[in-house]
């Protein structure tokens, strides 16, 4: 079996940030928040970039114990056909969205690469920026997506603890820890411009997870200097299956982690989704967080049918409309930006040259 990569276990790569995460007093949290805000303001100004997820399918071949899409869940399965994808995109466009994240479960015979590529093609006709959060792919497959206009992928390692990882992923292709760990590098090599990483917080000991995630981001930035890297901070949410996480990640710890990441990674996007409450999201916007999802529907077909009956991957916590969320950002003197990219930069030839 292949051994773990050096960056994953080299504590020196995160030694500067570790003390910030190990403190737990209110005064140090406040100081760290002020520093995170100052760093964010300098590099990103008062802009919050917005994106929205589009769930294409909830078919899945994996047995992740914490996920509502796992293949042993009994809820109905569904995938959008090309006409439905188009309708969803138009509904999203009507909300002003210009940046979409296409999601599926792990690869199945029903929902595989060809289906996903077709979805990217359609999305790229309607949205300036298209990213994908699906299953690990080969370099050639990533190149195929990049050529169709996919500029980013998101792939969470879920947990950086190899033993926990094995126990949490009961079957399916996702069981291979290292294969998943190397996925962002394959995507970049295939010409995908930016990769989003994250750990599903609550699965393993939080400080250790945070430090491994930080090392992962730094490793990617150093090794692939032209690639964009972003970090998300998903916490486990209630889902069908009723999984209870082993570790509690408090609001205060999550905030501390995000502040520390901003200090340790001053110029990358830090992302917060609608998994979090409106209170937490509004509070964190601009204090390190620079990119947020809006009006999220985590059911397949959720933008067109308000009462879509398929299972959701997790329960959304901040269920405000795009309008209401933007109003909250503006009240904080922040500018919600729906389009912060242009299709002019999705040139496939240029993408090949970069790879």
């Amino acid at each position: 079996m292949k051994s773990l990569p050096a960056w994953l276990i080299d504590a020196r790569l995160s030694a500067d940030i570790e003390p910030l995460l190990r403190q737990n007093d209110a005064a140090s949290l406040e100081r760290l928040a002020a520093e995170a805000q100052a760093v964010t303001l300098r590099r990103f100004g008062r802009i919050i970039s917005l994106y929205a997820p589009l769930y294409l399918s909830n078919f899945c071949s994996s047995g992740c114990v914490y996920c509502g899409f796992a293949s042993d869940r009994t809820s109905p399965r569904r995938k959008l056909d090309t006409g439905e994808i188009e309708k969803e995109l138009l509904a999203m466009k009507a909300l002003g969205i210009g940046d979409v994240l296409l999601l599926t479960g792990e690869r199945t015979s029903t929902v595989g690469f060809d289906y996903l590529r077709r979805a990217v093609e359609i999305a790229a006709r309607h949205m300036p920026r298209v990213a994908v959060e699906a299953f690990p792919m080969s370099v050639a497959e990533y190149r195929g997506l990049a050529e169709c206009g996919c500029t980013g992928i998101t792939i969470y390692q879920e947990t950086y603890d190899p033993e926990n990882y094995r126990d949490l992923h009961r079957w399916g292709p996702k069981q291979d820890f290292l294969e998943r760990l190397e996925t962002p590098e394959r995507a970049i090599t295939g010409g995908i411009r930016s990769v989003g990483i994250g750990a599903l917080l609550g699965l393993s000991e939080p400080v250790g997870e945070a430090l491994a995630l930080l090392r992962h981001a730094r490793h990617l930035c150093r090794t692939y200097w032209k690639a964009g890297v972003s970090v998300s901070f998903p916490r486990i949410r209630p889902q069908e299956g009723g999984f209870q996480p082993s570790f509690t990640v408090s609001d205060r710890f999550l905030a501390r982690m995000i502040f520390a990441f901003r200090v340790g990674l001053p110029d990358i996007d830090l992302v917060l989704s609608t998994r979090e409450s409106s209170n937490f999201r509004d509070g964190m916007a601009g204090l390190g967080i620079t990119r947020m999802s809006i009006a999220s529907r985590t059911t397949v077909g959720g933008y067109v049918e308000a009462d879509a009956t398929s299972a959701s991957q997790f329960e959304v916590c901040d269920d405000r409309s795009a309008e209401a969320f933007c109003a909250a950002l503006r009240a904080k003197n922040l500018d919600p930006v729906f389009k912060n990219w242009d299709a002019a930069y999705n040139n496939p030839l240029a993408t090949e040259e970069r790879a």
Binding site: L41, R42, R43, F44, G45, R46, I47, K93, G96, G98, R193, S194, C221, W225, K226, A227, G228, V229, D267, I268, R330, N333, L334, D335, V337, F338, K339, N340, W341, D342, A344, Y345, N347, L349, A350, E353, R354
Partner: protein, 259 residues
Amino acid sequence: MDSLRLGTYTFSSRLILGTGKFSSTSAMLEALRASGTQLVTVALRRFNREQAEDDLFGPLSQIEGLTLMPNTSGAATAKEAVKAAHISRELSGSPFIKVEIHPNPHHLMPDPIETWEACKILAGEGFIVMPYIPADPVLAKRLEEVGCSSVMPLGSAIGSGQGLSTADMVKIIIRESSIPVIVDAGLRSPSEACAAMEMGCEAVLVNSAVAVARDPAAMARAFAKAVEAGFEARNAGIMPRSGTAVATSPLTSFLGAAS
């Protein structure tokens, strides 16, 4: 006051402003008006045909007497920048293009090689080409040779607020250049803009320092005054700095009186 000449255009204001990073479009517009700027840069990324509320181009084109200088921020290669320039010209109708190519999307440092490639092509196509560059005197001359209308060396990293940390190199660029030199990026306060003008810059480009100020309009006004003061001081003849005191017992008295 002399005008700033860029290509066939002349401007009485020597403060160029960026339009990103503001808390709202209205805060941005208010700052532009307060500054009296006549030239602003705007990213193609922020042009939104679909949604007027999210669009920067539309509101900017409503300000009378304002010339737009679209920029290629987001481009990682010369090819992408050229494509972005073509689209920007079509959308804005402006012949100006700020060539901004940063292959690393994090620190946003300009790529000198790709920038030179793109500028050569765009100058050949008749654009008024304004490249954002590292403060490299050789690159500045190479860009002048291919027909750029100005060079815009960085004072320090975008958004860093580190001021004129490249001052020594910018001075060489100014000394050698036959086209206007404009410091772009890194300026934190009006005094730094003033210093850049005193040094010999023809204009300065500011964005973050205005956009993130508590009162962007007041800060924009302050920058405008500082730029004017620096330019006027330079033309008035700044007293040379004397590096050493004059010894009371002259060191050269042994040479005797000059004959």
